[in-house]
């Protein structure tokens, strides 16, 4: 028989995993940006202010996914209802929500970090076009965070739209539904890892090229949009599978 403690254990486990896994690459990404920024100041001491500003803004944008993970884990710790009639469904859903957002913030943070680092490098090379490069950096980072947004959506749906476990159903049925929910969390969590990193790579290369050939701005941006949009499609397949696992069972 399930008690309140079981649901609590699942939620706390989910919260810990969420922010624990999510913080890893958030740190790495911010570190990349800071490193490139510092190196850029060495190469181009005159662009000191601009580089410092870009570095801070880039780091803030790269930490978005980490902040999503923090929000989910706060909600898991403080914002859930501990009614025992939620049953195994709720326990599995809380654990899955933590896994989804935790794993889901790995890729986007890393990608946004790479994009920000390349932007700092480009600005050090061409301080005159700093504003255009910074705008491109922000757009690229926002594109790479869209897969983190998918993970966040699935985590919220897992936390708030799963019904309580109905009375008098067999163990087999409970097993299918709860394992299905965990599968949904894993699907979107792992599925955003690749696209997040990939889109970050696209944005980084775009920033780099913009520093080399500033007059090709519109061409580069357009290719970046298209490439990033197509790279995102596997994250969207994961989202579809997660929706199916949550709602179609």
């Amino acid at each position: 028989m399930i008690t309140v403690e079981h649901i609590q254990i699942a939620a706390f486990l989910g919260a810990g995993l969420c922010v624990g896994i999510g913080a890893v690459t958030t740190g790495i990404g911010s570190g990349i940006i800071a490193g490139e920024g510092a190196y850029g100041i060495v190469k181009q001491p005159k662009a000191n202010d601009q580089l410092f500003r870009t570095m801070l803004i880039g780091q803030a944008a790269a930490q978005t996914a980490g902040i999503f993970a923090l929000v989910i884990s706060m909600l898991l710790i403080y914002g859930r209802s501990d009614a025992p009639e939620g049953g195994w469904y709720k326990a599995a859903a809380y654990l899955a929500a933590g896994l989804a957002m935790g794993l889901g913030s790995i890729g986007p943070s890393l990608g946004a970090g790479y994009a920000g680092g390349q932007a700092c490098k480009s600005i050090a090379r061409m301080p005159k076009h700093g504003n255009a490069i910074m705008g491109n950096m922000l757009i690229g980072q926002a594109l790479s965070q869209t897969s983190a947004i998918f993970a966040l959506v699935v985590a919220f749906l897992l936390m708030y739209s799963i019904p309580n476990q109905p009375e008098g159903i067999t163990v087999g049925r409970i097993l299918v539904k709860s394992v299905g929910l965990i599968g949904a969390g894993l699907s979107i969590g792992l599925g955003t890892l690749g696209p997040g990193t990939g889109i970050g790579f696209v944005a980084g290369k775009a920033n780099d090229s913009m520093g080399r050939f500033p007059n090709q701005k519109s061409n580069i941006m357009r290719t970046m949009f298209l490439g990033a949009a197509v790279s995102e499609s596997t994250a969207i397949y994961s989202l579809v599978i997660s929706f199916l696992l949550i709602f179609a069972l």
Partner: protein
């Protein structure tokens, strides 16, 4: 019809497998397509007169490298609906 325990275990394993299949399967194509698009950005900056050719090559290359992602999608759908 209610599930027996044995059937439940099989179906649960299939669902977990579906989630893992799509999750892991999306990893490779995502990074790969990103690599293609990044290099295409670089190429277009270098020789803008070939822009439409590069864009087309990029899209075809991404479509091919996405095929393993589509295989994962098919397998995941099969696991969800046929077990």
């Amino acid at each position: 019809m209610e599930l027996t325990l044995a059937h439940g275990i099989v179906k649960a394993a299939a669902l977990l497998g579906a989630g893992l299949c799509m999750g892991m399967g999306a990893l490779g194509p995502g990074v790969g397509e990103g690599f293609v698009a990044g290099k295409a950005c670089e190429g277009i900056a270098r020789s803008p007169e070939n822009a439409s050719l590069i864009t087309r090559t990029m899209l075809v290359g991404q479509a091919v490298s996405e095929s393993t992602g589509i295989y994962s999608l098919v397998i995941a759908l099969l696991l969800i609906f046929s077990s």
